[in-house]
């Protein structure tokens, strides 16, 4: 693998478009916050306090940049690994930790592995199963948005593992055929897979490659793709993966690009540390998910056999 950092290698017809401004300070803060969160989740995993947390690793900047391009009615789909995107979309540290501890305050009633945050209010749906199933769901959401004529998109984040999966093929194919308002973003490391902008023509879908460690570039690419999707130009794939060797990355790279003195860097770190501590304390003090919820929301209403199960659980 040699090609990387080829920003806007294939940007469609190349017409001039107004770029959205890049909130550099915010991205730096989110990178710091996400890194600290990931570190804490790993420690909690190692200590056996929570289930297996999955690191965002090299994909962090791309996840954050992509999520920052979304608007309130949009839907973010990804995996538990994509937690930084959920944070960028507005998930508080306390919400994330309540979800990780699977305690009250987790909107999904403690049913997902750490990081698999689901919050309909925020428009976030991170899963902990298939690497690629959500890509097809994103195609369907984007198709529905186009049918309805609404300025909403689905953003689907995925990694190289999804590239060998048939669902990727189905998702890109369906999205292209129906000009779905969907933006697919590949993030994280790339190894022996092909860059998607080199093969996307096979699905009839627009594609662009951006540097995955440049959150601002990803934000702008996704914002462009979003704008074009809702104007009827169809879906897009943004390949924001990182080949090897790949440095500098993430926060360090951003710090170098952002005018910040040592004192302000320290202040951000201290602020994150304090907020994370408070969020952890609140999550650890929260009540566990009630056993009675075990049979809730299997169906819209509990059928007789779940009522029976509920009665047995109460004994």
């Amino acid at each position: 693998m040699t090609a990387r950092r080829a920003t806007r290698a294939k940007a469609g017809d190349g017409e001039a478009e107004a770029e959205v401004p890049v909130p550099r300070e915010r991205i730096v803060r989110l990178l710091r916050e996400s890194a600290a969160l990931e570190e804490l989740l790993e420690r909690l995993t190692d200590a056996g306090r929570i289930g297996q947390a999955r690191p965002a690793g090299d994909g962090r900047a791309a996840m954050i940049g992509a999520a920052l391009a979304l608007e309130p009615g949009d839907l973010l789909l990804g995996s538990a690994r994509d937690l930084p995107a959920a944070v960028a979309r507005g998930a508080s540290l306390e919400l994330v930790l309540r979800q990780a501890f699977a305690v009250s305050g987790d909107p999904a009633l403690g049913r997902g592995l750490p990081g698999a945050l689901q919050d309909a209010t925020l428009g976030v749906r991170l899963g902990d199963g298939s690497a690629a199933a959500h890509l097809v769901h994103a195609a369907g959401f984007g198709h529905a948005a186009r049918l309805r004529g609404q300025p909403r998109v689905a953003l689907a984040l995925f990694g190289s593992a999804a590239q060998a999966h048939g669902d990727l093929h189905a998702a890109l194919g369906f999205a292209a055929v129906y000009r779905a308002q969907t933006v697919f973003v590949a993030r994280g490391p790339i190894q022996d897979e092909l860059w998607l902008d080199e093969i996307a023509q096979g699905w009839g879908i627009r594609a662009e490659r951006v540097a995955g460690d440049d959150g601002g570039a990803v934000l702008q690419a996704v914002a462009r793709a979003r704008r074009r999707a809702i104007s009827g130009e169809g879906p897009a794939v943004i390949d924001a993966r990182l080949g090897a060797p790949a440095a500098p990355r993430d926060e360090e790279a951003w710090r170098n690009q952002t005018v910040q003195d040592a004192a302000s860097v320290h202040a951000v770190a201290e602020d994150v540390r304090q907020r994370l501590g408070k969020a952890r304390a609140a999550a650890e003090a929260a009540s566990p998910v009630a056993p009675g919820t075990l049979t809730a929301e299997v169906y819209a209403e509990r059928p007789w056999f779940l009522q029976t199960a509920e009665t047995e659980l109460e004994r």
């Binding site: 839907l75 689901q118 199933a133 369907g140 959401f141 689905a154 169906y299 819209a300």
Partner: protein
């Protein structure tokens, strides 16, 4: 009322749903321009447009997955899988995604998708056009599984399914798509989900059957009635969640129970039914519960008549149960 066959009743229900709800969309292979391989969607694209009746690429995973995403948006998709034998490429999306979206999200992301698919053998369709996969889906918490046996029920149950807040597998018995003919209410009406139908009442033995097996049992009951054996026939209609009370009442009254289905016997839905019946009716049973089912083989082509339950096999089971 109008007289329709079962596939016409399905078409009628879909037209009513499309007319009544602008969030209902149909999607599937060849359902638009062609009108469906069984003509279940004939004329609907012309009437409601290509954005409501959507031809799709040939990918069951794509069809089901897309429907899941549409439901997340707020639409009520009704995908068709051309034959239930082809549902397996979409199995992951049904079992791991569609069925669990509501549960996994704590109720935040319900997925009201109604998957229509023809089931059953006896049409010289061979292995890939004849199977009855209901047990796989009944085994999956979160799914509703429905199988009508009459045109009236097909229309009423399909409308109820489309309006259900839960995902539904709507299994259409294709051997009787055109054979089953009956009066169907015009316009909008529903048959409630979760309610079995008492097809026939008799005091000696209870037959439980669904789909194409209901009319088979009716024929068996009619043939044995002159000899003084009277059968109750129960059609669950909604296979899951099951109307166990109606079934238990019937078996308790007759003391004898025979379950008839096309799918292979082992771990078929009949096994679960037998367990549920014995849990509730043990002290009323006067004979072991019997099953008349497909054999534990892949669905055959030329020997499908030997594979499928027949009137004779049902009669043999009735006689053995009575004589026990």
């Amino acid at each position: 009322m109008k007289t329709l066959n079962l596939v016409q009743a399905v078409n009628d229900a879909l037209a009513v749903a499309l007319e009544a709800h602008d969030d209902v969309v149909l999607l599937g292979e060849d359902i638009g321009r062609f009108g469906g391989v069984f003509r279940a969607t004939a004329g609907l694209r012309e009437r409601f447009g290509e954005e409501r009746v959507i031809d799709t690429p040939l990918s069951e995973a794509g069809i089901i997955g897309t429907a899941v995403g549409m439901a997340l948006y707020g639409l009520k998709p009704v995908p068709e899988i051309q034959f239930s034998d082809f549902i397996y490429p979409g199995f992951d999306h049904i079992v791991n995604e569609l069925a669990k979206y509501r549960y996994r999200s704590g109720g935040q992301f319900p997925c009201p998708v109604t998957i229509r698919t023809p089931v059953g053998g006896g049409i010289r369709g061979g292995h890939y056009h004849s199977q009855s996969p209901e047990a796989y889906f009944i085994h999956t918490p979160g799914l509703v599984v429905v199988c009508p046996s009459t045109p009236r029920d097909a229309k009423g149950l399909l409308l109820a399914s489309i309006r259900s807040p839960d995902p539904v597998l709507f299994l259409e018995p294709k051997p009787i798509y055109r054979k089953a003919v009956g009066e169907v209410p015009e316009g909008d009406f529903e048959v409630p989900l979760g309610q079995a139908r008492v097809v026939r009442e008799g005091g000696d033995v209870t037959l439980i059957a669904w789909g194409a097996m209901v009319s088979l049992c009716e024929e068996a009951a009619a043939r044995i009635a002159p000899s003084g054996v009277e059968c109750t026939i129960i059609d669950p209609r909604t296979l899951w969640p099951l109307d166990i009370d109606t079934i238990a009442d019937a078996v308790s009254a007759t003391g004898r129970c025979i379950i008839v289905h096309e799918a292979p016997r082992t771990c078929g839905f009949g096994a679960e039914l037998a367990a549920l019946v014995q849990e509730r009716c043990f002290l009323h049973l006067e004979a072991p519960i019997r099953r008349v089912t497909g054999w534990d083989t892949p669905f055959p082509y030329t020997l499908e008549h030997a594979y499928l339950p027949s009137v004779e096999r049902v009669l043999d089971a009735v006689e053995a149960t009575i004589a026990f």
